[in-house]
């Protein structure tokens, strides 16, 4: 299951500048473990001490916020695209 993961600016120090990486996994938890194996330090930036997605991190699977899907248990398939996006402000 090769999935494309888009890396935001603040995390590119860990990926040696890469803005996209290919990862293998059955679901998002596995993908994050795979990211950690290849880029140590990634997991603690994405997940809190309880293994939950950090409050200020948004993960999108093919443009859909994973909190509207199955969270970190959301299954992925080959060709999917994951975006890691910091929360940002706007509106009032």
């Amino acid at each position: 299951m090769s999935v494309t993961v888009r890396i935001p600016g603040p995390l590119r120090k860990i990926t040696e500048g890469a803005d996209k990486v290919q990862m293998e996994g059955e679901d998002l938890s596995q993908l994050i473990s795979a990211l950690e194996a290849q880029f140590p330090g990634m997991q603690e930036r994405l997940l809190d001490d309880n293994g939950e997605l950090r409050y200020f991190v948004n993960l999108y699977l093919n443009n859909e916020d994973i909190r509207f899907l199955d969270g970190l248990k959301t299954a992925v398939k080959s060709g999917d695209e994951i975006s890691i996006v910091p929360a940002v402000a706007g509106g009032c």
Binding site: V57, A89, G91, C92
Partner: protein, 410 residues
């Protein structure tokens, strides 16, 4: 001069230099500007502020950018009006309306963009950009026109015609996206790293957000150097709401006003109420929603500052309140009919929220209240189009008199 010390992560307190950065690269927490409040206290005074320009730059000591005439379209220092009709209707002795709908591009966004654009020029940018629910696009495009900067504004394609036109007239590069504001925001976050632009609500957001502090300063100054008992403001991301309170607290910390006891009340519409829902359920975790609201400028389903807005509510003893969708237009009309102020849906939400707060006893008759009206109704005329119902007559006196008689008989 600016009294900025650094940028600091609101979550893990890591310090960062004063650059175009908005996210902690360790925990992804938002960065905020840290000020030397002692130096500000020495530099500022009521007299100095009162003799300053009639714009938000009278509070320059408290802002993270130097005044720059190139970006100045005279944002801020909008009227604070003592309510008569609405106060009487709601049963309040001291109600004030902060009418920020009369800013140069007709919303409070002129404040945040003034600060963001001034900082962007300081940092060497020649282009400013934004993701917007409409009002921000108007403000960015207007300031870009004034300053000669290039501008890119990203909006949901289903915005009201008045908001699209209100931005397009300043000739920005406008990108309309087939999606919600949250989709627009995500896209902008993804591309912001790849373009050398000052995205006002992304990479220069810490400076941008602090423009909203002036909504706190101004109200305190206009009330005769005091804070109100209650403040009611609409919330989308929650940023403005938290910054109003920060503004009041900074005036307290620098000795310009005495004890701030203001209870902060956040108003949201039923169709997009992630902050108010969390408050009602006693959670500090925001659950994102898919917005479906007539108050389009509040339609942010994933509010980045929602957690901090809840903290402000808790710290101030305030609350969050929800306006039903079918009450929004009524709120707009009530303000117009009682005060002569025409606001957009967000203002209708604020007025309806205020009404509920009075009805439920959270605001009492003898307490002082400020309600923030942050956007102008002429951009969202679709919301209240049903008010147009003129008496149509032939051009002669008999026809007029007959029509008036018929009207009186109704």
């Amino acid at each position: 001069m600016s009294h900025v010390l650094s940028l600091r992560c609101k979550e893990c307190s890591r310090e960062y230099p004063v650059e175009a950065l908005n996210v902690c690269d360790f925990c992804f927490g938002p960065l905020e500007v840290v000020y030397d409040l002692q130096a500000i206290a020495k530099s500022t005074s009521r007299e100095k502020i009162a003799s300053g320009p009639n714009s938000l730059w009278r509070y320059a000591d408290f802002l993270p950018a130097e005044y720059n005439p190139a970006i100045d379209i005279n944002a801020g220092f909008t009227p604070l009006i003592r309510s008569r009709g609405l106060a009487e209707r709601l049963g309040l002795d001291e109600l004030w309306i902060k009418n920020d709908s009369v800013n140069p591009s007709y919303s409070f966004k002129d404040r945040v963009v003034a600060v963001a654009a001034a900082k962007a020029l300081e940092l060497g940018f020649d282009t400013i950009a934004c993701a917007s629910t409409g009002n921000l696009a108007c403000a960015v495009a207007a300031v870009a026109a004034r300053s000669g900067m290039k501008s890119y504004v990203f909006i949901p394609s289903n915005l009201e015609a008045g908001k699209i036109l209100g931005a397009a007239i300043y000739n920005p590069t406008m990108v309309a996206i087939d999606g919600s504001y949250d989709d627009v925001n995500r896209l902008c976050s993804e591309i912001a790293d790849s373009y050398p632009w000052a995205f006002v609500n992304i990479n220069v957001r810490p400076f941008y957000a602090d423009g909203s502090k002036t909504l706190g300063y101004e109200v305190a100054e206009q009330l005769g150097w005091r804070a109100p008992d209650h403040a009611v403001a609409p919330s989308a991301s929650g940023a403005m709401f938290t910054k109003i309170y920060q503004g009041l607290k900074e005036f307290e910390a620098t000795g310009l006003i005495s004890h701030v006891h203001t209870k902060m009340h956040s108003a949201q519409a039923r169709g997009c109420s992630p902050i108010a829902s969390a408050y009602e359920e006693g959670r500090f975790v925001i659950r994102p929603v898919k917005p479906s609201s007539l108050a389009t400028s509040l339609a942010i389903g994933n509010p980045a500052d929602g957690y901090y807005a809840l903290k402000v509510i808790e710290a101030s003893g305030g609350s969050a309140v929800i306006a039903e969708e079918n009450e929004i237009a009524d709120g707009v009309k009530l303000l117009a009919e009682t005060e002569g102020i025409f606001t957009e849906g967000a203002g209708g939400v604020a007025i309806t929220g205020l009404k509920h707060l009075v009805e439920t006893g959270k605001i009492k008759r003898d307490e002082s209240v400020v309600v923030y009206i942050t956007g102008n109704g002429l951009k969202t005329t679709e919301l209240v189009a049903d008010v147009v119902n003129p008496v149509l007559i032939e051009p002669n006196v008999e026809a007029f008199e007959a029509a008036m008689a018929a009207r009186a008989a109704k």
